[in-house]
Symmetry: C2
Subunit: 418 residues, 2 copies
Amino acid sequence: MSERTERSEGREGMPSRHGMTWVPGVAGSPYGVTNLPYGVFRHGEGEPRVGVRIGDFALDLAGAEAAGLVLAGGALGEPALNAFMALGRPQWTAVRQRLVELLTEPEHRAAVEPLLVPLREVEMALPFEVADYVDFYSSEHHASNVGQIFRPGQPPLLPNWKHVPIGYHGRAGTVVVSGTPVIRPTGQRASAQGPTTGASVRLDIEAEVGFVVGVPSRLGERVPVADFADHVFGVVLVNDWSARDIQAWEYQPLGPFLGKSFATSVSAWVTPLEALADAFVPAPDQDPPVQDYLRDTPHLGLDLTLSVEWNGERVTEPPFAGMYWTPAQQLAHLTVNGASLRTGDLYASGTVSGPERGQVGSFLELTWGGSEPVKFADGSERTFLEDGDTVTITATAPGPDGTTVALGEVTGMILPAR
Amino acid sequence: MSERTERSEGREGMPSRHGMTWVPGVAGSPYGVTNLPYGVFRHGEGEPRVGVRIGDFALDLAGAEAAGLVLAGGALGEPALNAFMALGRPQWTAVRQRLVELLTEPEHRAAVEPLLVPLREVEMALPFEVADYVDFYSSEHHASNVGQIFRPGQPPLLPNWKHVPIGYHGRAGTVVVSGTPVIRPTGQRASAQGPTTGASVRLDIEAEVGFVVGVPSRLGERVPVADFADHVFGVVLVNDWSARDIQAWEYQPLGPFLGKSFATSVSAWVTPLEALADAFVPAPDQDPPVQDYLRDTPHLGLDLTLSVEWNGERVTEPPFAGMYWTPAQQLAHLTVNGASLRTGDLYASGTVSGPERGQVGSFLELTWGGSEPVKFADGSERTFLEDGDTVTITATAPGPDGTTVALGEVTGMILPAR
């Protein structure tokens, strides 16, 4: 046993699972040793490398593995997280435990410190190669709001919504890393004179939480709800940019297509599920009862609080804990028909909206279909996104020992249509 | 100039672009030197290799490139077609011309013949790594039939159908090569007593034609209709297996998901566009006029005739030439919002249905929603697929000089649900 459990004590006097790190400036940071998200960074002219975030540093894991400080069969030397994510849960745990040792035990400082790169010197890359991208629709509040806005006077939820975790496939090739500018899409939209083609005038966000698959499954094999944590490596924040005018005209009968496929942004840091162990909380009761393959006991969601800043001003704080369908249910649904999983599959929650206006995850809802503009501190107003606008989504979760785990950020600026 | 243009003459006395091959048994074959589709094969215990089909042989192109017989920068030594497809149209043309030389000029026979592998000795693999998979819905007859079956008494086409080439993203990770058995999917379906979960009882096919992207495009860049042949490498046959009961319950409002994602089969051979140069024919007039970005002059479809065999008996012959939206229009639509293309993107036409019952591309239509069973020669009947059933889709196109170009086949047998 290492010294660290003796060195620090958590709340209520129990020995902490995590000691203090020797890395400078980390005290009080939500990127402490209870977090340790993974990403891929470039430093100067170097090739992309896998790293883990501690405070305001990236620890170069390619360098750490090359130096024999951590063992992952060479997977950390790859330019994306896929090879590491494919190793499976025991290896994820072993590497994480080793990283905590390296970052907390003073005897490792001399070897490890030269591998720390200040984040201000790095450029982040897409952390993993996206295999398939699926987007769910799992917030009852969001689905109800959208139903009321688009189908006024009709029941806000369709008959299948409380039975089927509704989802669809999105475009994997246009998933981009946080910070990538988003070019306003062009497309067809309806008008009183018939369809026209032009730049979207109802460009929106969708604040979501994405789950990244590490361990694949075979074609024809179902993944039961109980196996969620054996397949899912971690969590990213997602902004599923949406052109509402394009979407409204195209989506019947086969669903959203070009209204979504121009860009989907994900956070640069993938928070491992293990960092969120203290964030699992009971999910909302489900009535009517769900089909057997969707029954998860315990029925747990994640207590994440998202925050959406529009040009630097916080406009909404969507609560993830209230999502009707849980990530384990989504995974079981995705595979109930025998569809196989690949390493790098990404499935997102759908827009995260709580019951209050200040908790919705899209500007469609925040401005109620564009009819109630958001007023900013400087007196300006917005309904949908204008060129030059920047949206940044962040999130936090409760960590162990009273700590807070931050989930990075997903940000993007709107560039004019071409 | 090689000897071959002097050696053979085509119809009307013009010099043929293609001579006779020295490969045995190819005379009269629809896999002659005017076809030359590419695939990936395994021979014995060997690794997957790129090959080109001539008659009933695969020419080992990895071996040919290693021997210096054909030059492609090493791309033919990869275990999938992606690297070769990424080289672009001038290289595709140059390699094809060189292959015609190698297979027609007697002086190459001694070097090339040892690289011919009889097809009966090989196992075919998925010819390319699928990046994103998009499925369109471009047959007016199919869309009208489905509308009449699912929404009787309402206008069969939705208002957007003649303006927007309707499509959606499918699951790339479950695209499988022809011959892969298809396990009957399990999922939710509606019943009078509420939803139930079980094996699909309305398992269907969709006979389609798929287009494979070779040359990528950048995010934010549109691909005009005129650039179709600079990006699309070739054509595969597609069976988009569909569980109608699962699909009917899940598809509102975000489109098909698990009803399709369990398996999509593609032919093992990718027919290069150049082999189909003589198959381009005027596509149906479009009224109302389409948006500018969809206007292609000339407006050309492909004169392919599909054939669907159900347990060895031909049940329908869908004509591809009558598709309302052309592959060039589909590509322009797919990218009008700035969505980027990747090498390996696959987009399928949607079910190919002609105006007659014997020309429809799905059993849903062939049996009119399951109400009019198909009768087989042995007296048996079918509405949807039963376990053990095999479906094989083939297609032919007119080639140069009066030849016929065959597009391989896509076949699969239904295995019982697990």
